[in-house]
Symmetry: C2
Subunit: 212 residues, 2 copies
DNA sequence: CCTTTCACTTACAGCCGTTAGCTTATGGCT
DNA sequence: AGCCATAAGCTAACGGCTGTAAGTGAAAGG
């Protein structure tokens, strides 16, 4: 599967005010390349340009350099994940156990449905160049803080409803729970077949949330 | 820091029967490149050759192609990790809690001391080419099975000594514990600074081993 | 001395990121 | 309707790095 470089149409140029649309198309092209199963080395400036149907230098109107593309992809997917988690929590109703499993399952599903995206988001390869729109600390903390606060919140609800053993450090428990989820999510995103029982996810959640 | 391409000595050629020595030197050079902090993209066939002080094509006498080098590195480090884990277990004495924490701490320490090595071992980027000495399933299961059996063994000892709650599936619990450790180890290997409390490792171990 | 092992030099073709300068469609203005 | 400034994207080209192939030299040791 080479996904056809054959560009049937030479792509209609964007209209006057809508030059910025191309930026989104570039990010989408990069994500598409990832999803096609090739690893992140397949996402080069030139391959992205080909996928988007534009000439390579046209990217420089929207991104400073190649790493910036990857950075934008990570940012977009981080936001998408955060939104999905909040949504899952809100749609789960008032029951704390339901909320907990909804959030955790949504997290795990993201990694399973988009393994390549998950890999670049948390695989730590989007270059720690400390310049321009740098993420690295601030933005990882952004999702970090956001998702972890959500998790701590749900854990607190579990304690309040009496289905989990309390703790003096809810945030620390949230971090531990997230680390467990991350371990499973990352491993699933990396290998073809996971060892161990199918319900290992539930075991992780049950143990790390101290459910009774 | 460019680590000096300046090869003072042109490197003494190996003696008659010892041609195979170069193979080890090549692997060591690749590992050295990793440890220098550059990511795995810095480990190219040519850079490895430069680091080892040999000409690039000389590698082909010992490795079929570039991915094979990475593969050999992963194999070597997998073995080293397995040995370290067994050693830690044997040196921990008979106390089950000590054994458990010795093994887990050793695992976590490996990832902290050699983050780049850990990343390529479990980051799933050493190309899933299904040919020649392929690892991918067999050899990951090798460490997988080995380390997981060890963990299950230690967990069983914890139950026997009455310091942990029993379970009907010890191997499943071992997998869950390993996933937690992996989550922490990988995250530490990837980001500069981890959120959360310092004792998060002990929390993971305590919760996932069902310690009382 | 002469064979065999070990490693080297040279070279090719392909991809990469990036710079410089050019073309073309768009849409407001006269 | 016609002009024409400008936004939007293109072509050509550079230097550098990559993996790999083909053929060459030198040292070791029987």
């Amino acid at each position: 599967m080479v996904t056809a470089v054959t560009n049937t149409e030479p792509r209609r140029r964007n209209r006057r005010g809508e030059g910025g649309k191309l930026r989104e198309e570039i990010i989408a092209a990069a994500v598409a390349l990832l999803d096609e199963g090739g690893d992140e080395r397949a996402v080069t400036l030139r391959s992205v340009a080909r996928k988007a149907g534009i000439a390579a230098p046209s990217i420089y109107a929207h991104f400073a350099d190649q790493p910036s593309i990857m950075l934008a992809v990570v940012q977009r997917e981080m936001d998408a994940l955060a939104v999905a988690l909040r949504e899952a929590d809100e749609n789960a109703g008032p029951d704390a156990r339901r909320r907990l499993f909804a959030v955790c399952t949504t997290y795990l599903d993201f990694a399973r449905v988009h393994p390549q995206r998950y890999r670049i988001m948390f695989g730590g390869l989007w270059t720690p160049s400390v310049d321009d729109t740098s993420i690295t600390d601030a933005d990882l903390d952004s999702l970090g803080a956001e998702a972890l606060t959500l998790l701590a919140d749900v854990l607190g609800a579990c304690v309040d409803q009496g289905i989990a053993h309390g703790s003096d450090d809810l945030y620390g428990d949230a971090v531990a729970l997230w680390l467990g989820l991350h371990g499973l999510a990352h491993q699933r995103a990396v290998v073809r077949k996971m060892p161990g029982p199918a319900d290992v996810g539930e075991r992780l959640i049950t143990a790390l949330a101290h459910l009774k």
